[in-house]
Structure formats: structure tokens, C-alpha cells
């Protein structure tokens, strides 16, 4: 398994400031998928494992990435950005697209409103396993996800169901000019070094 740092950009809602909501994601269940919201009140907690297993599949991941406007309200996946190197097939050269550029683009809707950026880590499987909870999928890796080229430039890592709060280091709020308004650190954050394979001697 790999540990991957990611950014997540979320635009602020149209109804007003959502600072409290943004900071609440540093606790509780963390970053939730739309599927979890959709399930709320409609299922017993003991049904959660079975239902989540039915929700996670290669086709559901494909729909999340390629038809988000259709499945956005019910998808069990969460898009994160880690940046990517994009091939320009015409020249042929590569361009590096930074995670920050993509995350802020989504958070502020291209600099037209305020939004939030989270820094977090996830475990990534080196091979596709979209039906397995607990691991994120590196859909930007075309050697593994060879039919996911359409939005490759977004450098997406896809988490499943939720990102635990303890894997979120901080959240920041930016205004439409991309100026930092505030930063909230997560006091319960657990750094990824705790689970890395670098062992010290006894």
C-alpha cells in the first residue's frame, strides 16, 4: 500500500458562510460521501456494511468520475486531488498540473467564490480495487485505470465512503481572490508516519 497526500477543494454553499460545517469535518466521521448523506435516516447502522459493499463497484467508480452530474447526489466515492503529469500527445511533451491549482479551482469555482481546501492522507492500493472499502483508488494512474483518461488532468485520487477525520491535517478557507482567510488544524490528526513501513530499531 502507498500513503498518498491529497487536497480536497469544496466550494462554500450559496446559502451563506459554512465555516462551522467546514471545521466540523475535522471531527466526527470526517469527509463524507454523498452516499452516506443519502443513507442517513434510511438504514440501520448494522445495514451499513452490506449496503456499502453493494454501492462500491467498478461501474459506480466509473460513473463517479465520468458522469458526476448524474450520480453526484448518491455516489459513494469522494474526489481528491494529488496533481498529475499530463501528456500533450501533439508535441509530445508533458505538463505538470499541481494539486493546489486543481483544488483551489474547485474550492473557489475558478476564483468566483469562497471555499475550503483540506489536506489529508489516504491509503492507496497499487492495483484497482474499487469494491474494497478502506483504500483509495488512484484513478489518475492510467497504467491501472486505462479507461479513465477523460478527466486525467484533474489528478484524481478517489476515496470511498468517508475519509476519517484523523487523516485530515487541516482545513483552510480561501476567498474568491485565493487569499487565505483562516486555517483550522485538526488536534486529533494522526500523521501517516504512524503506519508507514519505515521501522526503527528497538
Amino acid at each position: 500500500m502507498l500513503v498518498q497526500w491529497c487536497l480536497k477543494g469544496i466550494a462554500e454553499g450559496a446559502t451563506g458562510p459554512e465555516d462551522a460545517l467546514a471545521q466540523s469535518r475535522l471531527g466526527g466521521p470526517g469527509l463524507k460521501s454523498s452516499w452516506l448523506f443519502d443513507l442517513r435516516g434510511n438504514a440501520d447502522i448494522f445495514e451499513f456494511p452490506e449496503r456499502s459493499h453493494k454501492a462500491l463497484s467498478y461501474s459506480a467508480l466509473d460513473a463517479h468520475v465520468h458522469s458526476y452530474s448524474t450520480v453526484g447526489r448518491t455516489t459513494p466515492y469522494i474526489s481528491l486531488s494529488a496533481g498529475c503529469v499530463e501528456l500533450d500527445p501533439f508535441t509530445p511533451t508533458t505538463t505538470t498540473i499541481k494539486a493546489w491549482e486543481t483544488a483551489l479551482d474547485f474550492a473557489t469555482r475558478s476564483g468566483t467564490q469562497s471555499g475550503f481546501v483540506y489536506r489529508l492522507w489516504v491509503l492507496v492500493s497499487p492495483k484497482p480495487a474499487p469494491e474494497l472499502p478502506g483504500f483509495a483508488e488512484e484513478v489518475r494512474e492510467l497504467n491501472s485505470f486505462d479507461t479513465f483518461a477523460q478527466f486525467h488532468h484533474e489528478g484524481e485520487i478517489t476515496a470511498k465512503l468517508f475519509v476519517p477525520a484523523r487523516q485530515i491535517e487541516w482545513v483552510e478557507k480561501y476567498d474568491r481572490d485565493l487569499s487565505l482567510l483562516w486555517r483550522a488544524r485538526n488536534p486529533d490528526f494522526v500523521p501517516p508516519e504512524r503506519v508507514s513501513n519505515l521501522l526503527d530499531y528497538l
Binding site: V85, A99, D105, S110, T112, F151, E169, S179
Partner: protein, 322 residues
């Protein structure tokens, strides 16, 4: 002239591109805060260093991540301004990008971007020396960046373009095949010679030889004709790119959630630099009737050539002469 004339879709996304320019402008301004906040988990440089081939030169530290991010955003903003007929605005972005890129000491310049921007704005001269790429800023510092084995393939077209746009044939004097070729690293030589853009060198009165260039030998008529065809082919390639990006690339036709980014660049720097080089150093040749194998052609590629020539004319206004 309408921008990007071969593509009808181009006009339809002008508003989106203008939004993108504004976003990139903001991103460039914020890059120092985003990439240089110590202790906030951002001190690790992003992999953006891969767009500069001298990052492999271990003698020098790579350019700061914030510099690369800012310069990259400003260059892209300028490219979009240029293709949407905002030439003065584009030059302003390029000047800001060059200023940002050269703000630190020369050994930390993102050298390829400095060479391209400086050559386009006539703010530097670029020479290909046996020892490396020699970039001399106008009234400023210079840097000779060693070849370090070889330049990457993807930098070769830009190296050629920057050299030709800044000094034309004279850029290659150090690489003349009449000199001692053994001092030029074979990797650097073969990579630069192998660039597709090198096929147009006879238009600059440079003859490509198996082991370098010869600026003393006059190209034959056949070499000149082949070079004209190669130049036209570069416009065909550019037209194909624009068609695919604007007409068929899903992010362009169906952007997600107000996303303004296009997947691939709309601007071909290497081709633009070749145009600048011809306009500056082969002005007699730089007329439509002499550049086209058949001036009566009316194709996407010829319309694109007309467009780039008009851009070059506008771009040259107000630039210093070297």
C-alpha cells in the same frame, strides 16, 4: 482577426478562457503563500520541477516551487490572452513571468522558461554552446547551464525556438560542424537535432548535418523546399491539436462544475518562436506567399499560419531591438 480561425468552437468558449486567465492571475499572485508556508505541510516542493530539464543538474538546487508555480500560471495566462486577441495583456503576463523567473540568482532560474520568455520579449539572447545552453539577459546576468548529459526530448523544440527567436542563425555558431564537434555531448546534439522543429532550419540558412549544424554552407533548393513543407506540417499538427482540444475533448465541450481549465494547451510555443525567428532574422522570407508551398492553399493550417503571422506582427510592436 477572429482568434483561432480554423475552429468555430473557439469563439464559444472565449468567456471561459477569460475566466481562466483571471484565475491563473490570482493563482500566480498567491503561489508564494501556497508553496512557501513553512511548517504547514507545504514545504515539500511539488513535482512541478519536472517541467524544467535542468532540475537534473545536481550542481544547482532546483528553482523554488513557488517560482515555478507562479511562472507557469503567468505563462499560461499569457498564452490564453494571446490566442484570444489580447496581445498587450499577453506581453504583460510574459513580462511578469520573466521578472518572477529571474528574481533569484541565475543558478536557480527555471532556465528553459527564462530562455523562451526572454527570447520572445527580446530580453535575452540564447546560444547553443558546446558546454551548454547560454542564456544572456539584456543588461543583466547570464547563465551557462551545462547539458548534463543531454537535454530532454521535450525541451529540444523550445531550445531551438528560443535560440532562433533570439539570435537566428548566430545562436548556433558554437555548434557549427566546422568546429570541434567532439566537445558537444552526443546526447545533447542528437536530441536537439532530432526535434521535428529542426526540419525548418534551412529557412534560417542552417544546414543540418549528421553531427551538428553548418551555417556556412548555403542550403540547396531541395533543402529549402523540404523545410517549407516541414514548416507547413507544423501548422497542420497545430490545427489538429486545436480541433481535438476544442471540438472533441470532453473537458472543453462539457466542463465539470464551472471548471475553466482546458486539458491541453491552446498555444504552441515552439511554433510561435519559429515564427518570431523568421520575422526577425529572415524578414524577406516571412511573407505568406514565400512560406507556403502553394499560396493558393486555403486550409485550416494556412488560416492558422495567417493567424500566427498576425499575432507575431502585433507581438513585435514595442519590443526592444537587440
Amino acid at each position: 482577426m477572429a482568434w483561432l480561425p480554423p475552429i468555430e468552437k473557439a469563439e464559444a468558449i472565449t468567456g471561459r478562457l477569460r475566466d481562466r486567465i483571471v484565475y491563473l492571475d490570482k493563482f500566480a499572485a498567491r503561489a508564494p503563500a501556497l508553496f512557501e508556508a513553512p511548517g504547514e505541510g507545504r514545504e515539500r516542493p511539488p513535482d512541478s520541477t519536472v517541467d524544467d530539464f535542468y532540475v537534473g543538474d545536481r550542481k544547482f538546487p532546483p528553482p523554488p516551487a513557488a517560482t515555478l508555480a507562479s511562472v507557469s500560471a503567468l505563462m499560461t495566462a499569457g498564452e490564453l490572452a494571446l490566442v484570444t486577441n489580447q496581445t498587450e495583456r499577453a506581453k504583460d503576463y510574459f513580462r511578469r513571468a520573466l521578472g518572477t523567473a529571474t528574481r533569484q540568482s541565475a543558478d536557480r532560474w527555471p532556465i528553459l522558461r527564462v530562455a523562451v520568455l526572454g527570447a520572445a520579449l527580446r530580453q535575452c539572447v540564447v546560444f547553443l554552446q558546446p558546454e551548454g545552453l547560454d542564456v544572456r539577459l539584456r543588461n543583466g546576468p547570464a547563465r551557462l547551464a551545462g547539458w548534463v548529459g543531454m537535454p530532454s526530448f521535450q525541451s529540444s523544440a523550445l531550445i531551438l525556438g528560443a535560440a532562433l527567436a533570439s539570435a537566428g542563425q548566430a545562436s548556433f555558431i558554437g555548434w557549427s560542424s566546422r568546429r570541434d564537434r567532439s566537445s558537444i555531448p552526443l546526447g545533447a546534439l542528437s536530441t536537439v537535432i532530432g526535434a521535428r522543429e529542426a526540419d525548418v532550419l534551412p529557412l534560417f540558412r542552417l544546414v543540418r548535418t549528421p553531427d551538428g549544424f553548418d551555417q556556412l554552407q548555403e542550403p540547396t533548393n531541395e533543402q529549402r523546399t523540404d523545410a517549407l513543407i516541414a514548416f507547413y506540417a507544423l501548422h497542420q499538427r497545430y490545427a489538429s491539436r486545436l480541433y481535438l482540444v476544442l471540438e472533441t475533448d470532453p473537458p472543453a465541450s462539457d466542463p465539470r462544475d464551472r471548471e475553466t481549465k482546458l486539458r491541453h494547451p491552446l498555444f504552441d510555443w515552439a511554433l510561435f518562436m519559429l515564427h518570431l525567428g523568421l520575422a526577425r532574422f529572415s524578414p524577406d522570407l516571412y511573407v505568406r506567399e514565400r512560406l507556403l508551398p502553394n499560396p493558393s492553399f486555403d486550409t485550416a493550417a494556412t488560416r492558422l499560419m495567417d493567424f500566427v503571422m498576425s499575432l507575431v506582427r502585433e507581438f513585435q510592436v514595442g519590443l526592444p531591438s537587440l
